[in-house]
Structures are given as structure tokens and as C-alpha cells.
Point group: C2
Chain length 317, copies 2
Amino acid sequence: MFISFSEAETFLRNCKDAVIITHQTPDGDCIGAGFGLKDILAELGVRSRVVCSDPFPARYDFMTKDGAGEDFEPQTVIAVDIADENLMGKYKEIYGGRVQLCIDHHISNKNYAERTLLRGEATAACEVIYDLAKYMGVKITRHCAMCLYTGIATDSGCFKYDCTTPRAHEIAAEMMRSYDINFARINRYMFDVKSLGRMKLESYVTELMEEHLDGKLAIVAVTQDMMKELGISMEELEGFAPLTIQLEHAEVGILLRVREDGAYKCSFRSANDVNVSAICQTLGGGGHAKAAGCTMTGSLPEVKAALIESVRKALSE
Amino acid sequence: MFISFSEAETFLRNCKDAVIITHQTPDGDCIGAGFGLKDILAELGVRSRVVCSDPFPARYDFMTKDGAGEDFEPQTVIAVDIADENLMGKYKEIYGGRVQLCIDHHISNKNYAERTLLRGEATAACEVIYDLAKYMGVKITRHCAMCLYTGIATDSGCFKYDCTTPRAHEIAAEMMRSYDINFARINRYMFDVKSLGRMKLESYVTELMEEHLDGKLAIVAVTQDMMKELGISMEELEGFAPLTIQLEHAEVGILLRVREDGAYKCSFRSANDVNVSAICQTLGGGGHAKAAGCTMTGSLPEVKAALIESVRKALSE
């Protein structure tokens, strides 16, 4: 059942001993939403605990360091930023089918909870929680403001991406005016810093980058030998696909990884308007308009030639 | 003379045939301010021309492509985002001492113009111009909004840096609500894309990065031979100093460049609170708290050891 701010308020004001579930592979938005909501519940006199199937990465310490909460038998089960129960990881076994309130911003939300406060137009779950707190007139502490700012900033790429709403900017302005949040320091740790290992991996991948089609296509091909040299798995390397569309004039970027069986796993990214899902479908693959993939066989020159030709066709349409 | 919005309005409503000067080595803010103001003057029926001592880089084409303006003998001289006449480049010879209105946000503004509308607390000159246009009730076109958004976004590092004001966020929200500006595409070209040459240079520099003092100090040392191999000058390499403080735990980053005479030019950057100007002063150099420099002589191991020791001392204070 989708509910209103008023119904969410009634629920929160009357709940007790809540567990707040964040999604697996946690990011700034679910952690910010979890710990921000924990602060709001504390203002209401409700004790709560934030849980996650995976450990919270160290760069989020400023949100999580005061502890995820006391150990108690929960009377209330809340999920934040979780569109599908399968994203709860091991907590699905414990709380699956028992979520009483879900607060989310994903239009793909499966409506699995008893009550869902969904704002599909919001940049982040933290945007929904901020607006809910304002609606309820609950005091927002500085720590809560830092959590909610972080979720909005991380989900919007620091207000850079399409998904950024005017409301996200307005909330950032309100938080900067009302609380002395060290947003520049937060942003540095969220967006600018990298481990030396990550920097060197990115360098390696960049060194392999080739321009094709007058720079409109960037291709990076990584062999099994290279992955062994780098000590990185096929799966980890997936995270480097977006690097390909950092190339100045690239409309399409492709990361090619040679599998153990010799086939090529091709991850496509679109910088602007080219639908890479459509290209991948012509090659037996699929995906989303801006991120898609396919698998190819043959020699590396043959595979590259086929990929270049398929992108050339798509660009000329 | 520093003036108010009201006095600036009176001046702009009564001027004619204006030249708008932007600073040398133009950036998103001075170009946005110049072309944004040109649009506003057009609404007032005043023709204007935007000039710059250097060419406008291609990535700003979406602001500059409709032309810098007609050729006419200016009756009015306006400077935007220029704190000091020396930053006008070749236009100082023509318009030096003759600027009738300067619109700026640098607290260091030398007050060289007849009238200066200075808002030292603003993120960007574009923030001042937006607020002036709202004050005057002039229509802001979509092109004007894109120009002013770009200036605010670029000067704030896409709302990332300390200098970002709540007002900058509020203006971004207003522009997103009122005009259909393609802010995500603008941001991609301002912040995410790089030429293949730049990417490969960054990779090369990253490959040289060393961690010292438990990762709190990052050092990159570039020799004359490397610069020759890269085809890059000492001056161009300066732009890579900020890369050093992308290292995860770095408080201080140092870019060392070997000069032709064998001495080491050392560029310091501070990630957070360490005052690198103070460190450089102990080594015979100086600068600002977050960006400073010094020159060292000796062998590379000797120079590195001295730099590491001076940073170790500063960190232990």
C-alpha cells in the first residue's frame, strides 16, 4: 500500500524498537537514509538499529561511527532505499515479508512492504526523509543533516546528473543555512579521493584506451593476462566501464574483457543519446539505453571490427 | 566606488553600445557572466560585444556560438569576474583605466573601475548577475540561464567546494524549475570529459605517485626526461598538482618538477587543514594555505627526505 506523509507520520510516531534495513552493497543514500532516520526516531523517543547485509565502507564512518544502535528484539521493521526485498541480502531471510514501512524513491519499487512512502520523482531516499521530517516538524540534528545531505549528494553525483531535482538543490541550501555541515569535506571523500591501487588501475585501463570513429567510440580491451597482472577479477573490472565515456568526444564507450573460455564480454556505455541497448540487441545482447552488454567470439581484431561497425551504423542513423 | 544593485540597474538601463571584458585564460564563470550579461542587455535593448584576450575554449561553444556580438565603437566599458585590470590581457592596453562598471565576486577586487558591483560572498560572478537580473525584473532567456548556471557550477566545482553558497543552490533550483536547461549535459562537458592526451598524461603522473607517512603525504616527481617524453612543459604540468591530493588519505600532496638547471620546483597542495604555505616558508618558499611552493636543490633522495621531514613535522603539530 502506498501511503502519504501524514500516514507515514502516524506510523513513525506510534512505533517502537525499530530495525532499519539498508540495501546490500550499501551506498551513500541508503546509509544516509538509515542513519538520518535513526536520528529522527531518536527525536521521537523511539530507539532503533540500522542493519545491512554488507559492512559499511570506511568512507561513511562520519555517518556510522556512533554505532548502528543497541541490540534489542525489533517490534518495527523499516526498509529505506530498497526497491525489492532481494536487495536486503541476508536480512531477507529474517525480515522478508515483514517490512511494515518502506521509504523509497525508486519508481521500480515492488510495493513489497505493508506501507510504502514512495516519491519516484525524488533524487534520493534522503530527499524523501528530509521532506518527511520537515512535514512532521521534527528537529533535524547536525548529524542527521550530514547524513541526508550525503545521500542527496551521492545519488545525484554531487548535483551533476539528470536525476538531480530542483528540490535536491533547495534542501542542500536549507541544510547549509540551518546547520554547519562540512559539505566540502564530505564531498571530497565521496567524490574526489581514491586509493593508490584504484588510481593505478584506472591509469592502466586508460593506457589501453583507443579512439575510433573520429573519437565518437572509445574501446578498452583487457585480456586475462592483464587481469592476472593487475590482480583484478572480471567482476571488479566492470566498475571501470564508465571511464570509457570520459573520453572527450565519445558517444559510446565499450569495455571488452576476455573471459577464461576466450569469449569477449562487452560492456557498453552511452554518453548522451545513443541507445546502446539497441546496439547490443543486434549483437545478441541487451540492457538499458545508457548501459548494456553482449558477448562476442572470434579474434580480437574481428570482434573489434564488428563492434566498431555496429556503433558506426547506430551513429549514422 | 562600490555600488548597490539599484545603482547598477540605473547604469545598465541607461548605457549603450557596451563592450563586456572577460579575463584572460577564460573559465566557465567569466564566459557565463559575459554572455549572460550580453543576453540581459539585449532584453534592455542595449547591444553589446563580449571580448577576451584569449580564445574561448571549444567546450564553452554552447554559450559563445551565437557570436560575441557585432563590431561597433563601444560607448560603455564593462568588466565581469575581473579582480584586477592586469587580468584583462591585451584589453588592458585598450580599456585600462576606462572600465565604467565592474561586476565581480572576488574579495581581492582592486576597485579599479568607476563603479564596482562586488558581492564577495558569492560563489561566482554569475550568481551576482543572476541576482541583479532578478532585482531588475529583466527576463532571463534559456540561453542566459544556461550561461549563468554554467558559471555557478564551474566556480563551485559542481556545488562541491567550500565556496558553494546556499544561494548558489537556490539559483540552480530556480533555473531548473523555470527554464529547461540541460544541466546534466553541461556538467558532463564541464567536469567529466577529457581528451585522450590529458587522460594518458594523468595516467603517467599517477603511475609515479608515491605514498609516504602512512599515506598522509603523496609525492610525484617528474624529471626533465619524462617531460620531454610526454611533450609537456613545466608550466602545463603545474595543472597536475591537484591530482596528488586525490590520494585517499593524503593530507598533503607535492608535485616535484626538475628544472633545466637541476633544481626542484615543488608544488604543495593541502587536502584539508594543513597549512602548506607555512611548510613552504620553512623551506624558503610560500603561497596560500591550500596551495604553495618552494624550490629545493640536492639529489632527488635528499630533496624527498627533506620534504617528507618537513611535512612530518607539520602533521605532528
